[in-house]
Amino acid sequence: MIDQIFGVWNYWIVFILMMIGLYIVISKKSLLKKIVGLAIFQTSVFLLYITFGKIAGGTAPILTDNVNEIYSNPLPHVLILTAIVVGVATTALGLALTVRINKAYGTINEDEISASDLVEYHEKYLEDKK
């Protein structure tokens, strides 16, 4: 039982981070916090990949004379390097959009944005009626 929890503790951390991230994306009203949540969510996946690649006691995969040396799998690390770049791009685009939304609406709260859209819709409706 203890082994099941602590023996695979890195998976538990991945799991907890993933849930925290998703929770923030779903529940928070602030557009900025959603992006933070998304970043945490993505980071948890990065950790998952690196956990796969790591072999306990293995060294870095550098070519040496010792053929029998145990080394960690380099491919997941490389993949995650790509994924980090993608994650940065996503965060950057999200932040840029948030800045623009703040300019257009004067707020980055989801509820206030939809309220403001509703007001706009209603005004147009009244205009149409005239």
């Binding site: 998304l38 993949l79 993608v86 999200g94 959009l97 939304i101 859209d117």
Partner: protein
């Protein structure tokens, strides 16, 4: 020169728009940017056509990126299956690029237009890359390239309506969550098989027997892509994104983006996991897709009936049409998948035509294209209206249009595997779709015009793309052999992988 091109065709169709997008980004001249983009998409289409001929007698082209053989290196595969969506993206890409110029200069800040074209080409490159790659992780990269640039394009609609920003933001967040889900699935698969190549995965998965990681991986990957493909009920980002995007972006995304994601669903469920179809008894799983598809058909259609904003209405109808396509996939028979491919192609033609003609009418109303503002425009813009009517009837599946052909084969496939109740549901939903189509046609034709703009005349610049799409809608509705044969070849190839 020519052998070199032929040899490198699989990468050329991705690299060409990618390179041109870099060049276009630094230009200051908008017209030049448009010309170059058109040239780039034209080149891409030429390469695609060459590739078509290659594939038709080789049937399978495998290309190793940087000459690294798989499973270590990245492999690009072009076969009789993937050539169909590539063709859709490159042809619609060219037509939409031709169409785009008037609208981009009108709807986007002048300074940003050339950058917009850069994003535009990037989207096309990402979509084509998504189809060609046979590497599960590389697919994720292209997924993000295409959707990040698509988000930026959607958000550019903010000059016309600030809601575009929020629509783009939601698209971004949902898309990123979906893509991350996909990566989780790929990671789990890599953990148990040690490979990322799709063909390799297909070979190694059955050897694992009943394995929980594989089931979880399948679920994550499918869910992730279903968000991108806007399969009901994961479609909520779609209507707003299509409705508030700049007009040409709506055309491009509606016709291609979701189609490519659906193609990936097919790839995942039939190429990667098809070989272990029996082991995991996906037979029961396919019913989930089937019922979701039926719900999508009705939910999309009913939402469209009550919608007033025309672009949003068309987007809702896209949700329903995606339902038809997914329904064909979920039948898991060769005719079923073939009918999905037929509708994949045909719906791209239909939606491109509909969005083009509607936004062309919206050119004068700019901000809102709703049922009221476009009332009576049909009589002022007869050619645009004509194209709209043809494409709309095609959407409803009336004979002599492509929509009829896809409906014919979809219903046949549904009847053969599920009996009479499924065709009946399909037909009821398509009869319901007549209601919103008729609402639009009637509004355009009858109602007195409500616009106070004096000079309304057609835009001759868009005749070529619009009439080409309309012609294709009719031509492939009559002489449909090409589409049908190729779809059946593709579906037979896919089904041969299932054991």
């Amino acid at each position: 020169m020519m052998p070199f091109i032929i040899k490198n065709l699989p990468i050329l169709i991705v690299i060409t728009p990618l390179m041109f997008s870099l060049i276009v980004a630094v230009l200051n001249n908008n017209r030049l940017a448009w010309t170059l983009s058109t040239f780039a998409s034209f080149l891409t289409m030429i390469f695609t056509i060459l590739l078509c001929f290659e594939v038709s007698y080789k049937s399978n082209i495998s290309y190793y990126l940087g000459n690294w053989p798989p499973p270590l290196g990245i492999e690009y595969v072009i076969d009789r299956i993937s050539i169909i969506p590539i063709m859709i993206v490159s042809v619609i890409g060219l037509i939409a690029t031709l169409f785009a110029h008037n609208f981009f200069t009108l709807e986007i800040d002048e300074k940003l237009v050339s950058k917009t074209y850069s994003l535009w080409l990037l989207t096309i490159a990402g979509l084509i890359g998504l189809i060609t790659t046979a590497d599960a992780f590389n697919l994720f990269v292209f997924l993000e390239i295409s959707s990040l640039s698509a988000v930026a394009l959607v958000a550019l609609g903010s000059k016309v309506d600030r809601k575009a920003l929020v629509a783009g933001y939601n698209y971004l967040i949902l898309g990123a969550v979906g893509a991350t889900f996909y990566v989780i699935g790929v990671g789990l698969l890599y953990g148990v098989t040690g490979t990322l190549n799709m063909g390799d995965l297909a070979q190694k998965i059955p050897a694992l027997g009943l394995n929980k990681s594989v089931i979880v991986a399948f679920t994550f990957m499918m869910l992730g892509i279903m968000v991108k493909a806007a399969v009901f009920p994961l479609h909520i980002w779609l209507p707003n994104a299509y409705a508030y995007a700049p007009s040409p972006v709506s055309v491009l995304l509606a016709a291609t983006a979701t189609k490519v994601s659906i193609y990936i669903i097919v790839r995942i469920s039939y190429t990667i996991f098809g070989s272990s179809y029996e082991i995991y008894s996906f037979e029961s799983l396919r019913y989930i897709l089937l019922y979701l598809a039926i719900l999508a058909m009705f939910a999309g259609t009913i939402m469209a009936i009550f919608e007033k904003d025309v672009k949003k209405l068309l987007a809702h109808s896209s949700v329903a049409q995606i339902g038809y396509i997914v329904l064909g996939i979920s039948l898991a028979t060769s005719p079923g998948i073939a009918s999905s491919f037929i509708h994949l192609i045909n719906h791209a033609l239909i939606k491109a035509g509909l969005f083009m003609s509607i936004v062309a009418m919206g050119y004068y109303t700019l901000k809102r294209i709703d049922v009221k503002t476009i009332a009576g425009l049909g009589r002022q813009l007869p050619i645009t209206f004509f194209s709209f009517v043809i494409c709309a009837l095609s959407l409803a599946g009336l004979p002599l249009t492509v929509g009829f052909i896809s409906k014919l084969y979809l219903i046949k496939a549904a009847y053969m595997s599920e009996g009479i109740w499924l065709p009946f549901l399909i037909l009821v939903s398509s009869a319901l779709s007549l209601i919103y189509i008729w609402k639009l046609i009637e509004g355009l034709w009858y109602n007195e015009k409500s616009l106070k703009i004096e000079k309304i005349k057609e835009l001759p610049e868009i005749y070529l793309p619009l009439l080409v799409i309309t012609f294709l809608n009719v031509y492939f509705g009559i002489d449909a052999g090409l589409i049908i044969d190729n779809s059946f070849i593709a579906s037979d190839a896919l089904m041969s992988g299932i054991k």
